[in-house]
């Protein structure tokens, strides 16, 4: 009886899993429907999309790595250094993190003009590097790390930077991987931001330009999809095993 129930539940879960993966399978099969035309176009005859792909690569990787570095430092301060106003400041980070891009779209456009980064990759990379999401997620994780480990290590290492490198970073591995993958995907996926902060088509990231049903677009979509997928495969064990465990109290 119990066994029967288990089989039933696993069947339902598997059906759900298939639904989850189905769009990916469909995208891939659709791209091969006209043969390999789409792919030869993408890689050889229509370099336009390959160019956009490289733009995405630059924006997402620099933005994600930068975000991890900035966030680790900030998260350490928020989680482990007590100072006046820390609670209020962290609260401001969270509120800002929760506001969608459209809310401050116009002033962001103005700011990027003022600083001469409008219509350059920096207009997308810099907000990505300083996004509050990374600080939020890493702070939550770091808070669960026992204070006495930090205190003990402090006495031994002497400098905070060394403490970060030898004690905090190894313990934060799962969180960093998670942030790296999520932030990369987030930047890889941006649509609204480039449409506002850029105007030269050739400088746009690929996500903003994937419209239509042309074979080359379908092929570009598959190539586009492949990179975050690869990132996931690379880190899947860490992601599955470690990510949530550190948010647990």
């Amino acid at each position: 009886m119990v066994k029967l129930r288990r089989i039933l539940v696993v069947l339902i879960l598997s059906a759900l899993a298939v639904i989850m993966v189905m769009p990916i399978v469909l995208t891939v099969t659709r791209s091969f429907a006209p043969g390999l035309v789409g792919y030869t176009d993408f890689f050889l005859w229509k370099p336009y999309y390959l160019r956009l792909f490289c733009n995405s690569l630059l924006i997402a990787s620099v933005g994600a790595v930068g975000n991890v570095i900035v966030s680790v430092l900030a998260a350490y301060v928020f989680a482990k250094v007590k100072f006046r106003g820390s609670g209020v400041l962290f609260f401001v980070y969270i509120v800002v993190m929760m506001m969608p891009f459209q809310v401050t779209l116009l002033p962001q456009y103005i700011v990027s003009r003022d600083w001469g980064i409008y219509d350059t990759p920096a207009a997308l990379i810099l907000p990505g590097i300083f996004s509050a999401f990374g600080t939020f997620i890493l702070t939550q994780i770091l808070k669960t790390m026992p204070d006495d480990i930090i205190e003990a290590a402090k006495l031994e290492t002497g400098s905070t930077l060394r403490l970060l490198w030898y004690v905090v970073l190894p313990n934060l591995r799962g969180g960093i991987v998670c942030l790296l993958v999520l932030q990369f995907t987030e930047l890889w996926n941006m649509v609204a931001e480039p449409l506002v902060l850029m105007e030269t088509e050739l400088k746009m990231p690929l996500a903003a330009m994937l419209n239509g049903d042309a074979p080359v677009v379908l092929a570009a979509t598959v190539v586009f999809l492949f990179l975050p997928f690869l990132l996931y495969l690379l880190f899947s064990d860490t992601l599955r095993e470690e990510v949530g465990s550190m948010v647990v109290k």
Binding site: M20, V103, V191, R240
Partner: protein, 261 residues
Amino acid sequence: MKKRSDLLLLLPSLCGFTAFYIVPFLYSLYYAFTENAFSDKFVGLANFKMLLENEYFRLAAWNTFRFSILAVPVCMLFSFTVAMLIARFAAKSGILRSAFFLPIVLPSAVIVGIWNAYFAEAVPFASLLALFLWKYSGLNITLILTALLTIPHEQYEAASLDGAGAWQKTWSVTLPNILPSLFFTLILTIVNSLKIFRESYLLYGYYPDESVYMLQNYLNNHFAKLNYQNIGAAAVLFALVVYSIVAVLFALEKKWSDSIW
């Protein structure tokens, strides 16, 4: 002395955060209370009055509210149920867990392409809800599941000895243990529900069906018209709402965890 040098580590984040997020918001604040793009006369709440009288703004605000108030609980409940089922019956299946995590790393453009090809006729509001569930439940499931798997077995055994049934165990052992994770997941889900505009835009463009005309559409379209005052007032209102939500959530979390521990 030591402490002060530690605070320096916050500096890069703080500078960039101020430059790219706080300063733009201050601009909005300024627009919200001034007369128009050419005159910086203080006009009190006039812009807010104008905004609230605008029927498209009201429609957009209502739609955004309606979407989040449905999408967030449904997504949380679905994720929680699936995570419980996996934890109980298939905790060791890596394939199953990967399958649920995958959509979050996949580009929105992909799913939108599929949706257009096969479900173009579907009701817009329901489509966005389905897309939201598809895309974001995986991250929630992963977070909740990992929390579930770290609950010590002894606690369940102790509860069994006390004669607790399945529901009672969920209530008195499972929930208290995963509360911090649930809270974290809830905040992420709210953030993500406000990001649904990406899918909405890819599916329906700037002028979608009335039922999915969201605040983000409203702001986008007024951006095109360079209506500074309108956008500024809307941004300030939006921030106030988000602020209240976060404040309430924090208070609730504090209350619950205090009452449990």
